[in-house]
Symmetry: C2
Subunit: 205 residues, 2 copies
DNA sequence: ACCTGAACACCGTTCAAGT
DNA sequence: ACCTGAACACCGTTCAAGT
């Protein structure tokens, strides 16, 4: 599993082939099938390996703070291992996903969310985190020719947004100026706070 | 493009090979490269083909209602073409994504969201929609052996959630009973409303 | 019980040769 | 300018044969 994570971090999802992993482990490609059934299971095991730590119990915290911290843990894990973001979105039944549902949703009762809202609320925050996860993974995967560092990539995207037709894409053009120097991590947390504020507002109704 | 969408709907992402598309069009595989640069571009073009209609202008609407309707349009498009959900999350710079940013974010000024909150608010709602899109695409792709219809699939997942360890996954177990007969579309809309409520609440601060 | 590694049935992509 | 289709350099997965 450690070898698989190393290859994934270094070469990405496409780099993790059964042949490459077998070579790294000095064995035959067929041998790996004695431990995982197929490539999906191999990726799920690697994902589980990375996610388990970041959704650890923090039972003594205030619940909103726990939701912020677990969300940020998942965000940072995907920042460090972009392939995790892709795989989480692709295999919703893997154990890593259950840990995220539990970590985020498990705080809703303590937050005072009434029972009839809990499933919808948990689903919303999990979906939001997964959405950001997928985007970040895609952003990290993408390369713009020779520009690789973040600020240059953002600049390239911003240039593209700024060049869109003003009649069809006025808001996208408006955003292009703010895109250039925003902070992904802060924006992610701002979204978590919008969600938390929405939960609190709905409880009052 | 129509032929590509047909193959994708019938066989999924794995079924759309250059050889299969060439055969359907009675041509050679190499010919397709005169129209798209690679497989990613082929999928982006097919995605654009499906998404453009559902994010059409509805300028005369109340903004919150427009956001709900555009979100639902994306949801329904992915319900009909699951591969769209996967590809949206994987290629954030494609034109289809810009249309979604514009359709959802473009309503925020009319909603009264102050300028310094607009980018974060747009990002949050787009990420949420993409998160649900990815999950729904993955759910539709997955098959549980011989059970294929929705209620049986949900039942199988619910059984799995109910069988989890009670100490480690109390909330997941709690959810397993509601999972069985919830409505994905309603739950999606409930999430949109949570974000709209959160955006409204943040404006008051 | 686990490993080996050749073999099978594919891929995306390229490119000389055609029209 | 576009098409053809064989060729290249790979894949995931299987399986007879080994230890």
């Amino acid at each position: 599993m450690a070898a698989a994570v190393e290859i994934l971090d270094a070469e990405g999802e496409a780099g993790l082939t059964f042949r490459a992993l077998a070579a790294r482990l000095s064995t035959g490609a067929g041998a790996i099938y004695h431990h995982v059934a197929n490539k999906t299971e191999l990726l799920s095991a690697a994902t589980e390996h990375v996610i388990t730590d970041v959704v650890t119990d923090t039972a003594d915290d205030r619940p909103a703070e726990a939701i912020r911290r677990i969300s940020l843990g998942v965000f940072d894990a995907i920042d460090a291992h972009p392939w995790v973001g892709t795989h989480l979105s692709r295999e919703p039944w893997q154990t890593a996903m259950l840990r995220i549902w539990e970590g985020l949703g498990g705080r809703l009762p303590a937050l005072g969310v009434p029972e009839h809202h809990r499933f919808d609320a948990a689903s919303a925050i999990v979906s939001y985190v997964l959405g950001v996860a997928g985007q970040n993974a895609a952003n990290a995967r993408r390369d713009f020719g020779d520009v690789t560092d973040r600020s240059h990539v953002l600049g390239a995207v911003a240039d593209r947004w700024a060049a869109m037709d003003d009649d069809e894409f006025p808001f996208v053009r408006y955003l292009s100026t703010r895109l250039r120097d925003h902070d992904d991590r802060e924006q992610f947390l701002a979204g978590v706070d919008i969600f938390l504020a929405g939960i609190a507002a709905e409880d009052d109704r």
